[in-house]
């Protein structure tokens, strides 16, 4: 018997021993009837929600960057309170993965931690997908190490390049190769995967060419995996959005970055005033024209831009100014022809 077959065999034996007993089946029937009756009874069929706006129904599919995910998810949660009839799902395939789906019309909104690339743009045009780019927040890329790392406090962009450029693959492996004062131990790298906008952005800012990086590191589009990895490994060095550092402050150590003008730690101020360079960047959402014709999507995007100023700082990102959000809102309204 194959291993899958054997697993099935054992499951069937278990199934027969418990679920096939009559008393269990009566129990299941009782549960089923209760569920059906309760779902029939409690649908609120009035036409308005508590704010007096019309109640909307529908599905909104969002996917893309894991960096922008916390913002979009926070907005979606608040939106669901307002409009429980609208089902908003947010995926995390990475900016690149999201744009793939976006270009095929499979999702309505793409979270992106970098602007759309020209190839992705051409694919959208080829599939007749008109879209709008909306800036929603600023983000800084935090360089982090394990809490037990006592030797590093700051790193220069030059050193980061030496660690992460393609030529380093297999050759640059120990801390002392970067700075002779550091120990002669192997470092373990954790970073964004290739579908991640963070990856494109980091490689462009540090190595000089987008997508150009060494290959021997733990790559993941899910920043939570990277947080887990760095917090459990003494010789770890990783990068991800500042928000993920803020969430896990007690398990990680932040490293300052020096681009020639002094060592700067990422924070709301240094990202807003641009001194934390080159690792601060704007993040976006992209929406298709087809989707923005739907009432629930219009309502969601309006809600997003109206509430971003308060929700964005809540999740650890840097909000745009009120005027900038207003400008994005106007841009969206012109796009949908409702101005």
């Amino acid at each position: 018997m194959t291993d899958a077959g054997n697993g099935q065999y054992l499951c069937i034996k278990f199934f027969k021993a418990t679920y096939m007993k009559p008393i269990f089946q009566v129990f299941l029937m009782a549960i089923a009837i209760t569920i059906v009756m309760s779902s029939c009874g409690s649908k609120d069929s009035s036409g308005e929600n508590k704010n007096g706006e019309t109640k909307l129904q529908g599905d909104i599919k969002i996917d893309g960057s894991s960096t922008v995910y916390p913002i979009t998810e926070a907005v979606a949660e608040e939106f669901r309170v307002d409009q429980p009839g609208v089902n908003v799902t947010v995926g995390v395939s990475g900016t690149g993965g999201g744009f793939k789906k976006f270009g095929r019309g499979e999702i309505d909104i793409n979270d992106a931690s970098r602007p759309i690339k020209s190839q992705e743009d051409s694919i959208c045009k080829a599939n007749n997908i008109n879209f709008l780019e909306l800036k929603v927040a600023f983000d800084g890329l935090a360089v982090v190490v394990n809490k037990q790392n006592t030797w590093i406090t700051g790193i220069t962009v030059e050193q980061l390049k030496k660690i992460w450029e393609p030529a380093a693959q297999g050759k640059i492996k120990t801390w002392n190769q970067i700075n002779p004062a550091w120990p002669k131990e192997e470092f373990h790298l954790y970073g964004a995967g290739i579908a991640s906008g963070t990856y494109d952005y980091f490689t462009e800012a540090v190595v000089g060419k987008s997508g150009s990086s060494r290959g021997d590191y733990t790559a993941s589009e899910d920043d939570n995996v990277l947080v887990q990895g760095v917090s459990g490994d003494k010789n770890a060095l990783g990068f991800f959005g500042l928000a993920y550092y803020e969430e896990n402050k007690d398990a990680l150590k932040l490293v300052s970055v020096d681009n020639g003008k002094g060592a700067i730690l990422p924070s709301v101020e240094t990202i807003k005033n641009g001194t934390y360079a080159p690792l601060s960047r704007p993040v976006f959402i992209y929406v298709t024209q087809g989707a923005s014709k739907r009432e629930e999507v219009k309502s969601f995007i309006n809600f997003y831009l109206e509430n971003a100023a308060s929700l964005v700082p809540d999740v650890g990102y840097i909000p745009l100014t009120t005027e900038e959000y207003q400008a994005q809102l106007t841009k969206f309204q012109e796009f949908t022809g409702t101005k």
Partner: protein, 292 residues
């Protein structure tokens, strides 16, 4: 003279059997045709002997060795965990335990097999790794050891259930002859019955290996996502299965080189499990007759 309805049912049943054969052939066909394109560009020697696997990045290396050692390391650890427990449980249930004990414990063992593998992976990452980190120095968050141990726990039911069936099939006369010679229960169990059932136990072990080699979720979550050519179980490794998941969930272009690596990895995996299943079938066929 068969009635028409009988004939129709016969055809339907035959075609159902046929569908499984067709599916297997279909899978083999897809694997071969897609990896053909891969092996046309990458020489087999590179594939088998290069020590780095970085097909997604700028400096591309296509050596399968790091993924193979990842799979191999986690499988060995799983076996070392599962084998002693599995066989001891099987011997106890078949030789020592009374009927009531058997009736309670066997379903519980089968529950171990019914737990979803993703839950096992999460368990390895959040419970086993921190626990091991308290007494193993230098254990990183993603490591082969926790993943291997949890995989071992997962395949205990496979090994114990099949071994027990093998032990049960040993004729009573062998046991009685052993007792007649004055052997203790322990001596009978381990010196007579277990060797007599060794072909069945070997089959159980091989199926356990096949299950561990093909396991995806536990290693994808707990063992790591970086191909690493090492035999140190404290480091993170990536198995063939975890690599396939990593690339499939991402953003590679259809028909690009990166896309074809999925099939190259897949066909390697397929060859291994196919060989293991065939070896177990052959052992069963060849050695089972001796003791009946």
């Amino acid at each position: 003279m068969k009635k028409t309805s009988e004939k129709i049912i016969e055809v339907l049943l035959a075609s159902s059997g046929f569908i499984t054969i067709l599916t297997t052939i279909g899978i083999i066909w897809v694997l071969i045709s897609e990896s053909w394109g891969f092996f046309a560009e990458i020489p087999l020697s590179d594939f088998l002997f290069d020590t780095q696997w970085t097909p997604l990045f700028t400096e591309k290396h296509y050596g399968i060795l790091p993924l193979l050692t990842g799979t191999f390391l986690t499988t060995i650890i799983a076996l070392v965990t599962a084998l002693p427990f599995g066989i001891i449980i099987a011997v106890y249930l078949s030789e020592y335990a009374d009927k009531k004990f058997r009736a309670t414990v066997k379903p519980m063992l089968e529950i171990l097999a019914a737990v979803p593998t993703v839950v096992y992976g999460f368990f390895a990452l959040t419970v086993v790794t921190p626990f091991l980190q308290t007494f193993i120095p230098g254990l990183s968050t993603f490591n082969a050891l926790s993943a291997g141990i949890v995989m071992g726990i997962m395949i205990i039911p496979v090994i114990s259930s099949l071994s027990e069936d093998a032990l049960y099939a040993v004729p009573k006369s062998l046991r009685e002859a052993s007792y007649g010679m004055g052997a203790t229960k322990f001596q009978t169990a381990f010196s007579v019955v277990v060797p007599a059932a060794s072909s069945g136990i070997l089959v159980a072990i091989i199926l356990g290996i096949a299950r561990a080699v093909g396991e995806t979720m536990v290693v994808a979550i707990a063992a790591g996502q970086q191909p690493n050519l090492t035999l140190d179980a404290r480091e993170g490794v990536e198995t063939i299965t975890a690599y396939i998941v990593q690339v499939s969930l991402g953003d590679v272009q259809h028909d690009s080189m990166e896309y074809k690596t999925i099939f190259a990895a897949g066909i390697t995996l397929f060859i291994f499990t196919f060989l293991l299943n065939n070896v177990s079938y052959w052992i069963k066929k060849k050695y089972q007759e001796r003791y009946e």
